[in-house]
Amino acid sequence: MTAPAPTAPAASRLNHLATLESEAIHIVREMVAELERPVLLFSGGKDSVVMLHVARKAFWPGPVPFPVLHVDTGHNFPEVLAYRDRVVEELGLKLIVASVQDYIDDGRLLERADGTRNPLQTQPLLDAIAEGRFDAVFGGGRRDEEKARAKERVVSLRDEFGAWDPRNQRPELWSLYNPRHRPGEHVRVFPLSNWTELDVWRYIEAENIPLPDLYYAHNREVFRRDGMWIAVGEVTSPRPSEVVETRRVRYRTVGDMSCTGAVESDAASVADVIAEVAAVRVTERGATRADDRLSEAAMEDRKKEGYF
């Protein structure tokens, strides 16, 4: 299952992973060349980690020429935040944190009845984009994640309210990306659009990219809710009917602790995870994200309001 190193020019045809990497580097360079103030959404999640890795390769031997932005829900896994800070420190990046907790504390946002904070990220994100006057926002979003994302462009225009209009998207022709926009508008850019979950993991293996530990199997106190294993933590305590047990689990996605579930797994290494993902029969969002189960079009609705 070991993928060859993406940049090795063994023959006159690139393997699919090297082709995807080259496409992503091309897109990142295009946006940096054409726009004034890009920023990269960086949460410490695997897709944003791969995005950052691609950006580093795109500008080598120079530094990554833009800051990173994290929308912190206040319910993030502590080990992921520690990883985020370590990476930022090592690479000498500028980190901007937009804090959902601050918005809740001063009353600009109200805590939801279900305790989920993912939908609350939109306002702090849009404010941070406006404040930083960012005109290109890189994200690690992939089209295989979700049905609405399957229809999104690599370079996707957002209006002055940050809204996505799925019925009025620009045609994306050849590899001629068009990020032009009017003042107040910006573009969201998804260089990993054509990657699948498996591609991301194969790339992590080929490039030997470190990730937060919770992507790999570990023992954790969890309880069952909505068909998912939820970790016992500050923001997620079991209801009387829910039984806490220690299970061997890992996370396929890392987001807000209140709505991100773990999956039972013995995959302790990248190779194990690749084997698991290749055989798995449930999508990563279906397995681990309560917020995408709200309705058939939950993601589309949030994107229209300015979500990632």
Binding site: S12, I25, H26, F59, W60, P61, P171, G286
Partner: protein, 431 residues
């Protein structure tokens, strides 16, 4: 080694295209249990007697409400030998725009024909678009053979008609396959119910067709994206580093090769080929690399590094465009032309005819409306080093952009010869 193949599917919902795409995803085990559960649930809610695989691909709220596919959707599936990127182009609304978009990057165009009705007007149009965009391979899936009791005669009739049209258009490589997307005949495995058909199944064919080869026999073309010059921001050994970053569009380059920068015309040699993973002696399309040059040329973004038969830079651009703007294109319009990494102002000197996709013939026209395909001549504010689309899909393509709104207005294909001749042979006309 798994290679990447990009395919586009076109056809209307009525032809069973979404079902075919759903079938490919399902049979290649790219549909996962929770996705299938959702589709099964919605199918039951709608009172359908079967699991509607089309629901796998119609993602937007409006699409599900209206039962139609609105926009190009991208799907991913893989076999041990190949990884596939599928651009699913809907047929109802904006079909030209969608098919042009999907075809622009496709190695293979898959068209759907309902065997009961044969080749439709839309099939002809899609074949024209595939030919115009120079998709290397076209597969016509003749669908719903289960509804004609797997009879050979209606299939043979469709096949003959497809070949006749493809020949008249000069489509280089056309395949036809009798399939039932609903039941699965000849999609993954060859069907026992069509013993008279001896060709490959759809997936077998997709696994064996060769993607476009942008390396062999193609001259080196490298649009410079940006200059990497880190100065004080880099480690001490790279303080004086100066490299030109880009993705090789076609061909290959070796250290020591002589290259010409266009449109400036300066000539130098390649001193080094760098990537973050190390330096290379040789690189080829579509690799993203950074080139160091022997001479300190004053070049940057928008310059094209080329070797071999170097294209001539010109401020006159003659091309065939698929017009995607809401307002008609007329002589005198001011637009931006994006070619490679260069964007220049331009004025439309003239509109010289339109391709009638119904009759497949060129007709006189002096303006282009939404979804029209026609010939235009542009005068550019600065020269570009474009070449014929027929010789390079990358270096022969361009975008027209609205300078005020930034909207993408047209997909353009360069035609190097000068004056258009409407009475000329069609093949000549469509590049």
């Amino acid at each position: 080694m798994s290679t990447l193949l990009r395919l586009a599917t076109a056809g209307s919902v009525d032809d069973g295209k979404s079902t075919l795409v759903g079938r490919l995803l399902y049979d290649s085990k790219s549909v996962l249990a929770d996705q299938l559960d959702a589709v099964r649930r919605v199918s039951e809610d709608k009172g359908l007697g079967h699991v509607d695989l089309a629901l796998l691909t119609d993602g937007l709220r409006a699409e599900r409400e209206q039962g139609i596919t609105i926009d190009v959707a991208y799907r991913y599936f893989a076999t041990p030998a190949r990884t596939f990127i599928l651009a699913d182009c809907p047929g109802h609304v904006q079909y030209t725009r969608n098919t042009v978009t999907g075809s622009s990057t496709a190695d293979v165009l898959v068209l759907l024909v309902d065997i009961r009705y044969g080749v439709s007007e839309q099939t002809r149009r899609h074949l024209s678009v595939g030919r115009l965009l120079r998709v290397p391979h076209v597969i016509v899936a003749v669908n719903k053979i289960d509804l004609v009791d797997y009879a050979e005669e209606p299939y043979a009739a469709v096949e003959a008609e497809v070949r006749r049209i493809a020949d008249s258009l000069g489509v280089p490589d056309v395949w036809t396959i009798p399939v039932s997307a609903l039941v699965g005949d000849n999609i993954v495995d060859r069907s026992a119910r069509t013993p008279w058909y001896t060709g490959p199944s759809l997936l077998e064919l997709l696994e064996t067709l060769e993607p476009e080869d942008a390396v062999a026999d193609s001259p080196f073309r490298f649009p410079v994206q940006l200059t990497i010059r880190p100065q004080g921001a880099a480690a001490p050994e790279f303080r004086d580093y100066r490299g030109y970053a880009g993705r090789i569009a076609t061909g290959r380059v070796r250290v020591g090769d002589e290259v010409t920068a266009l449109p400036s015309g300066r000539v130098t040699t390649v001193a080094g080929i760098d990537t973050a993973a190390g330096t290379l002696d040789e690189a080829f399309a579509p690799m993203s690399v950074t080139l160091r040059l022997a001479d300190d040329l004053d070049i940057g973004r928008g310059e094209l590094l080329a070797s071999g038969s170097v294209p001539e830079a010109s401020a006159d651009l003659d091309g065939t465009v698929a017009w995607l703007g809401e307002r008609p294109l007329r002589q005198g319009a001011r637009v931006l032309v994006k070619h490679g990494t260069r964007t220049v102002q331009a004025v439309v000197r003239g509109v010289h005819g339109r391709l009638d996709l119904d009759t497949l013939a060129p007709t006189a026209a002096d303006e282009l409306a939404l979804n029209d395909i026609g010939r235009v001549q542009l005068r550019l504010a600065a020269p570009i080093a474009a070449e014929d689309y027929a010789s390079s899909r990358t270096n022969g393509s361009f975008l027209l952009i609205d300078p005020q709104t930034g909207a993408s207005l047209a997909a353009g294909m360069v035609r190097a010869s000068a004056e258009p001749e409407l009475d000329a042979d069609l093949l000549d006309w469509v590049i």
